[in-house]
């Protein structure tokens, strides 16, 4: 990479690609279920024409399965649409809860994802001025790190709270950091730094803290992509 601008462009594109791949995998799974269920309905029809009795329970289960998978497909497409709109405006006022909810959903399509629960403390609004895409990318990578450091049945928890009047904290826990695992890598640290997000990986307490500034304008982006408070 020649410079940080190229790095951010590449990482944004790579993030889009990764999310695209996991969403397309989810849609393929949905299509696979619908395909098998339609195939089973066809089997039942063929059997009926050959004189076998129709199993009405199986018919009902199959029809319900198709309807449920179509709803699952619509939900997936809605998440895809929400994600696509992350790039509408480079920097804008967003609700942290919405960004977290979106990332939890799109990360949930990964094969190794666990259950993730978000808690917003004290019903706080969590409105920040930031880059929705870059913030989503940072949280996404943090969740992937959490999943990879937990078992398939793990429950990852995300707590959102106002740290002070200039900072919100996203605390991720419910995993056990494996030996030699570190977070973030150099690239992600630069990207997080570019939007003023500080990342602390607490190996002792097995948690990640992401500190998000209330207003990106309070930070100036330095030539190395890191930020400093004005």
């Amino acid at each position: 990479m020649k410079n940080d601008k190229e790095l951010f462009s590449y990482e944004s594109l790579a993030f889009f690609g990764r999310v695209n791949a996991s969403i397309s995998h989810e849609l393929k799974n949905i299509m696979a279920i619908i395909s098998e269920t339609a195939g089973l309905l066809n089997d039942i029809t063929e059997m009926a024409t050959e004189g076998h009795a129709i199993n009405s329970d199986l018919l009902q289960t199959s029809a319900r399965s198709i309807m449920e998978e179509i709803q699952r497909g619509f939900k997936t497409i809605r998440q895809m649409n929400r994600f696509a709109h992350c790039v509408d405006t480079p920097v804008e006022s967003v609700r942290l809860e919405e960004i977290l909810d979106l990332v939890i959903n799109i990360a949930g399509y990964l094969a190794y994802s666990g259950t993730t629960r978000m808690r917003s403390l004290k019903n706080e609004k969590g409105i920040v001025v930031t880059s929705p895409l870059l913030l989503a990318a940072v949280v996404y990578h943090a969740l992937i790190f959490s999943y990879k450091n937990s078992g398939p049945d793990a429950e990852i928890e995300i707590d959102l709270s106002q740290w002070n009047d200039k900072m919100w904290r996203i605390a991720i826990h419910g995993f056990n950091i494996k030996p030699f695992q570190t977070f973030p890598d150099e690239h992600l640290e630069k990207i997080a730094g570019s939007i003023g997000v500080g990342i602390q990986c607490d190996r002792f307490n097995n948690r990640l803290d992401l500190d998000v500034p209330t207003n990106l304008d309070d930070y100036s982006i330095q030539s190395d992509g890191m930020t400093s408070a004005n």
Binding site: H25, N29, E36, G39, D43, M47, S62, A111
Partner: protein, 128 residues
């Protein structure tokens, strides 16, 4: 033919099992690699295993290695909802046979017959 079918998409596994059963196969669906291992550890034996590649916990490729230790005669077919149809070729194991999802049931059946070397499922249970 006895088939072990492992896929974390439970509905997919159940629907495919039912369709194979209608064609005379004796199918045991499992929804995780861990569950499949338990089934073999308890002594069950199969002619072939159909494994989803991407699963939480033990994925299909790792599961194949573990199942092979329990039953060296077991034959394998992999299913994938990811990427291109020849994804498995990139894996180190050149013997992997991989079918894309959504799959054609006749392709799966032909593949199972080919790797096991049988002519079909038990005729007495065959409805299709």
């Amino acid at each position: 033919m006895k088939v072990l079918l492992v896929d974390d998409e439970q509905k997919f596994a159940l629907m495919l099992s039912k369709r194979l059963e209608l064609r005379g196969f004796d199918v045991k669906p499992c929804f995780s690699g861990e569950e499949a291992l338990e089934v073999l550890k308890k002594g069950a034996r199969f002619d072939a295993a159909v494994l989803d590649i991407k699963m939480p916990g033990i994925g299909g490729v790792e599961l194949k290695q573990k199942l092979s230790l329990l039953d060296p005669n077991l034959r394998f077919v992999f299913l994938t909802g990811h990427g291109s149809d020849d994804e498995c070729i990139r894996e180190e194991d050149i013997e992997m046979i991989c079918l894309p999802k959504p799959l054609q049931i006749n392709t799966l059946i032909e593949t199972l017959h080919r790797i096991v070397g049988e002519s079909g499922g038990s005729e007495k249970d065959k409805k299709l």
